[in-house]
Amino acid sequence: MKKLVNDPQHVVTDALVGVEAAYLGRLAVDHEHRVVYRADAPVAGKVALVSGGGSGHEPLHGGFVGPGMLDAACAGEVFTSPTPDQVLAADQHVDAGAGILHIVKNYTGDVMNFDMAVELAEGGSPIATVVTNDDVAVEDSLYTAGRRGIGVTVVVEKIAGAAAEGRRDLSAVADVARRVNDNGRSMGVALTSCTVPAVGRPTFDLAEDELEIGVGIHGEPGRSRGRLGTASEVAEQLVVPITDDLDFTGAPVIAMLSGLGGTPLIELYLMYGEIARILGRRNVTVARTLVGNYITSLEMAGCSLTLVRADDELLDLWDAPVDTPGLRWGA
């Protein structure tokens, strides 16, 4: 394992020291509870957006804290959901009395820990929860844990953040967040594994010509393994399951192609060219695009594609100013 770390057991704690130093005056860090929050929180009259999850997906979630997006993010251990105490502390730091929205990726651990936090909360604003579950790699069923929440979470946080910044009330912010999630689908592929620092060994092995298709963001194995083909073939493997699952024609689409952490931008650009070509052939009209590292899995090589079927209102919220380390425009 080659990593820029001190003690592999303390990676999250140490990284938060860096986040605080890098964004002084913009972000505050509660080191005891590992919470990153807006330096100006609580923001009067505003619904507070709180998210969080395992670490290792940076900039998600701490890098999306700031005006126009999240109020606070709880950093769990690497790939391990945060604990209820952390969520409670986050809520307390940012609660302005106008309600709190928890944005939770659909993983058993994340859902249970955020649920327990809500059960344990005493006093404070009402809390609503939106669970994201956009990963088409996972077969959905009433009897299983359901689809995982991946890339759409970034779009939910951006758009719900804009709605909250516009002083919509809790149920309206939760509604728009759910609408984004319901209209979002994602799919990822990995070319290499990642190594959890405290483990020191890659989570899985892939042969030189193998691809993990439908990989999770925690190094969970994917839907299947395949032979690594050309970028154009990989693009098909991303686009087809997404567009088979939901009709993206006839609406403006927000497209996000996120690297998984170890893939250089030149490959992401190249992949996006292939994806755009296939989407064009399928009559999908992309109105907004993000290409870069937004939801990652440590140093894994690969990428995930997220499409959101939007409308004028969602595009306006998307275009609204945002000022976070990971996403910034208009501010």
Binding site: G76, T80, T83, G109, D115, A145, E220
Partner: protein, 225 residues
């Protein structure tokens, strides 16, 4: 044994020994548990539980509650606040419910332990909604508690030994299962052929109970140690 008043009951000290033994076993098996989780999950189960149980043992060294409910409230809350992931709330709920069912007593008899264990498993099921066969810790816990209940008449030591055996059988039975809950469920058919990490740690929990009680209670008529 030593100064124990009633050989058929389990005192707080023995319950603490259970937790310490569990902590030790988890630490010894940490890498194995994590490797199991790497195969069908996200490679953190051993790390998570080891972090939590070390916190529990430290906490108990600093301040050991006198009653069973207080003891397990501390244990449960410590796990909830240090483990994270799926296993934090699940093991946390197990111990919280265990304590609440036991009540403010300073010892448990065989039946009292059965009630507490049953309540603990009930908590895991209530929190995680898993059924037997879903390839989770429930597949070790549920048969273990049932075995304990069946053997409750032979006293806590033997009932715990039976529970441990049943937990290990339940753990091994997860190998062919296709996961329907937790992170392994994303793998669907690919999850078959692997031990479930949570069932494996749950088997350690019952093994720790059996070990902690072994030899501390008098032999029963069937001559087993």
């Amino acid at each position: 044994m030593g100064s124990r008043a009633d050989p058929g009951t389990v005192e707080v000290a023995q319950l603490v020994a259970w937790l310490e033994t569990f902590g030790r076993l988890v630490h010894e098996e940490r890498d194995h548990l994590t490797a199991l989780d790497a195969a069908i999950g996200d490679a953190d189960h051993g790390l998570n539980l080891d972090r939590g149980m070390r916190a529990v043992v430290e906490r108990l060294h600093a301040d050991r509650p006198a009653t069973v409910d207080a003891l397990f409230k501390t244990v449960g809350m410590t796990l909830v606040s240090t483990v994270g992931g799926a296993s934090g709330p699940l093991y946390g709920t197990f111990f919280l419910r265990f304590g609440t069912a036991a009540g403010p007593v300073d010892e448990l008899d065989a039946a009292g332990l059965a009630t507490a264990l049953r309540a603990g498993v009930g908590g895991v099921v209530a929190r995680g909604k898993a059924e037997p066969g879903d390839k989770t810790m429930v597949d070790a816990l549920e048969p273990a508690v049932t075995a304990y209940e069946r053997a409750v008449g032979s006293g806590p030591e033997h009932a715990a030994a039976a529970a441990s055996e049943a937990a290990e059988a339940g753990r091994d039975a997860t190998i062919p299962m296709v996961a329907r809950k937790g992170r392994a469920s994303y793998l669907a058919e690919r999850s078959a052929g692997h031990l479930d990490p949570g069932a494996t740690s749950s088997a350690l929990l019952l093994r720790a109970l059996a070990d902690a009680l072994a030899g501390t209670l008098p032999e029963t008529t069937d001559g087993r140690a």
